[in-house]
Amino acid sequence: MAVSSLSKPILKVENLAMYFPLKKKLGSRERKYVKAVDDISFEVQEGETFGLVGESGCGKTTTGKCILRALDPTDGKVYYKGRDIAKIPIKSIKPIRRELQLIFQDPYGSLDPRQSVYSILKEAIVSDHKFHTRKEINNRVEELLNLVELDPDIGYRYPHEMSGGQRQRLGIARALACSPHLLVCDEPVSALDVSIQAQIINLFKELQKKLGTTYVYIAHDLAVVRHIANRIGVMYLGKLVEVMDSEDIYDNPRHPYTKALISAVPTTDYYIEKKRERIILKGEVPSPINAPSGCPFHPRCVYATGICKKEMPNFKDIGKGHMVACHNL
């Protein structure tokens, strides 16, 4: 889906940065930072899914938390429905908070083990102040359980009596309780078995069709993100290196890192797999504390030239909203 210039983004992130200060070493004057997210920009259109991929530590979760204002970004703007919420006082964010919800990898940690499914959902529903009477609340619980395809009888159970897939459905039901407009899903299926993963991925897609919710879908599994997302952003060491339509991630990746990432993912298309081009990266991802100068990927990039060491490439549109940050295209 190409971005039309007419459509209004529900979310617009501009030059977002999140630096975590490190403890100063004794006697050292300079303060060091983990540049977890470093000057990234992207837009998410209403009702679409924006996928954020990249390897461990590249800044995906931090980006998600900044969007939800679970973190106060160091710099940059986060426009939600046209209003910058990056810097406004936490108090004035309260009314929007319910419209923005988060789904975790395994909701187990955030589910109170002493609460039944029913009371977990009830609590989320009540916080929205839309449903008051017992009957309304019960109906809403049932509706939510239906939405995520859980048997209504499960209401009496406790989280530890449920399978991983069922718990994730409960996590989704809870996030949906306040009819959110934007859901940030952080690795929502990575803890699940493949056969269960597929069930939950299909559920996400169906819910979006029914409810029109916008997703920011964070994951390291490229195949999953390609499947679920309309647009995909690829992160490396706190930077966005490429943003494109999901159709392009396999057919037309342009950044050298994206290409390497794609080629690293094996496929079950047997005959394609046997003749795919493979790019094996040398070395490891550098530390975000001493990120390389210029393009963060240059020490591992086979195309790197002199300028790559010195200057961070611009994030430029190479056509139809396909954005790439690379000096050598």
């Binding site: 056969s195 269960i196 597929a198 991925i201 299909n202 499947h227 298309d269 797999e273 094996i280 490891e284």
Partner: protein, 330 residues
């Protein structure tokens, strides 16, 4: 085809727990030839790790108990030797080595990488301390760890996950193992590191003429690397065959379901995935019929009344499947 290196016949192991008998490995048979790369795939809890630890006799007994079968390594039944026998001790490491998912648990955190490499080399080779140390350095170099001399003095926690996994591979290299069992060797790693480490492992296996058993839930990984595959469900093998046959022409409804569950990075974008309904059964009180029955779109009356369908040949190249209604007939 090379000579048979390992042949496992009708292996059975259960855990006897307060809630009942857990049939973790239920009558499985497989083999690995010299210089062959095979894979065992299946979802969490189906018995992959326990099956391999049973072969190595690393299972705590009790609660575990071997209920039958044989593990023929170069023709000798390893089960005849006790888990703590000298024979088994020499087999583990020198002949067969295991690489686990989380290397932190198989590396000792209080010793340096060099000390551990040296020790394992000295157990298996008659060399001096100094020679063992030098062999250790060579082993680290063979797994492409830069600065091997310095790295020998590192503790495991001072290394990245990918680096630690390389150290474990170095250990198998240093011992000239004939068979490496890699249990989810790269699951905890990022994709690019995963590709780096697995490619390295494969090239070493080729060079050293070692056989390899890859244990994983990742179907893409086995498509890329394995020559033959065994699919495991609820403690049993349900399908086996060459990678090409099994991936392009799955016969068991479970294998087919797994394959249509995973989204692909290649080809046309699928509109919708076809998941397997329901979830895997508990390994306690398994029914006498096919364990996949409650989730199976192909099930017939025969499946519910018949005994557990045995593995039988359903195609060329020894393609085997345990199902009354194999896909595509037979």
């Amino acid at each position: 085809m090379g000579n048979r290196l390992l042949e496992v016949n009708n292996l059975k192991l259960s855990f006897f727990t307060v809630s009942g008998e857990v049939k973790a490995v239920d009558d499985i048979s497989y083999h690995v030839d010299e210089q062959e790369v095979i894979a065992i795939v299946g979802e969490s809890g189906c018995g992959k790790s326990v099956s391999q630890m049973t072969v190595m006799q690393l299972i705590q007994m009790p609660p575990g108990k071997i209920l039958g079968g044989e593990v023929l390594y170069k023709g000798k039944d390893l089960l005849k030797y006790g888990p703590r026998s000298n024979e088994m001790r020499m087999i583990r490491g020198a002949e067969i080595s295991m690489i686990f998912q989380e290397p932190m648990t198989s590396l000792n955190p209080v010793f340096t990488v060099g000390d551990q490499l040296r020790e394992i080399i000295m157990v298996h080779k008659k060399v001096s301390k100094k020679e063992a140390w030098d062999l250790g350095i060579q082993a680290l170099k063979s797994v492409e760890i830069p600065d091997a001399e310095t790295r020998m003095k590192n503790y495991p926690f001072e290394m990245s996950g990918g680096m630690r996994q390389r150290v474990l591979i170095a250990m198998s290299v240093a011992c000239d193992s004939k068979l490496i069992i890699a249990d989810e060797p790269t699951t905890a790693l990022d994709v690019t590191t995963q590709a780096q480490v697995t490619d390295l492992l494969m090239s070493l296996v080729k060079k050293m003429k070692t056989s390899l058993v890859i244990v994983t839930h990742n179907l893409g990984l086995v498509t890329r690397y394995a020559e033959r595959i065994y699919v495991m469900y609820a403690g049993k093998f349900v399908e086996s065959g060459t990678t090409e046959d099994l991936i392009t022409n799955p016969k068991h409804p479970y294998t087919a379901g797994l394959l249509s569950s995973v989204p692909k990075i290649t080809g046309e974008k699928q509109e919708k995935l076809k998941p397997i309904e329901g979830f895997p059964p508990s390994l306690i009180d398994l029914p006498p019929h096919c364990a996949f029955l409650p989730r199976c779109p192909y099930a017939t009356d025969e499946c519910a009344y018949g005994p557990y369908p045995p593995m039988r040949i359903v195609g060329d190249n020894n393609h085997m499947c345990a199902c009354y209604n194999c896909i595509g007939g037979q």
